[in-house]
Point group: C2
Chain length 130, copies 2
DNA sequence: TTTATAATTAGACTTATTCTAATTAATAAT
DNA sequence: ATTATTAATTAGAATAAGTCTAATTATAAA
């Protein structure tokens, strides 16, 4: 008897919500959006589903601030968060190989190229502040 | 009457613990180490002190995983966390200016050069895994 | 000294997440 | 088809990090 690893109706509904979102929703936001669509699952189901979808590579989990956020874009990319408003955006500019090597040499780590979180101030917050 | 902004005995004790630590302790770990030294303060005091020390530039706060960690090294540098064991290390290799510009151009963000969190697998976890 | 404000305290509260025990669903072997 | 086995879901309790509040203590300026 093999493990099932099914895309159950619950998991499918959660994946759909994430695919329809471009703002990296948190688990709580995903639950809100499910409710708007007339679906409501137990906390445990949502977290279990997010774990399953992440582990099977269907979504990407990124921890930002005090919550995990989820992204349907699974291509290699990084993220940047605004230190003023908290929004999170994608960064597709690849890390320069030279710098990655320098970091690896300095730290002894094997770099994970997809999990970099940058910080900064987004365009609209800069406009508002200055 | 001006605000005081004092380095009270509590704040001093907390700063001492952080200066004596090289492993980026969390608030909970700081409280443990205070207790080992025979000091114990209210949660509120510890968090208030960490905020004060961060705002006055005496320590650096970095959010990693589900908790904030504190670092007595305030020079410009980044951090890298092991995705296996969770340890956090310093990265002093500066971001290549060219890449920073590319990210700024792509995202419209004004990059904060000191707040980059990288992920990877540390040397000892790699040795253990392979 | 009195007065105003800052800092500390204990503990309640919030938020994100994990865990648990019971139930339901689905598959595999009979 | 029926039963055994395991997976997934559920409701809700438990945990962990951090914030908030009201009362108290400490400090400094007038």
């Amino acid at each position: 008897m093999k493990p099932k690893g099914l895309l159950t109706p619950q998991r499918k509904a959660i994946l759909d919500v994430i695919c329809a979102s471009s703002d990296h929703p948190t688990a709580a936001e995903i639950m809100d959006r499910l409710r708007e669509r007339g679906r409501q699952f137990a906390y445990g189901t949502v977290y279990n589903s997010l774990k399953y979808l992440t582990e099977t590579g269907q979504i990407q989990e990124l921890r930002v601030g005090d919550a995990c956020r989820y992204d349907a874009r699974t291509e290699h990319h990084h993220h940047i968060q605004c230190t003023v408003c908290g929004r999170v955006d994608e960064v597709f500019a690849p890390i320069p190989g030279e710098w990655a090597e320098e970091v690896a040499r300095e730290t002894g780590y094997l770099l994970d190229q997809d999990q970099i979180l940058l910080k900064g101030v987004c365009a609209s917050c800069r406009a508002r502040t200055s």
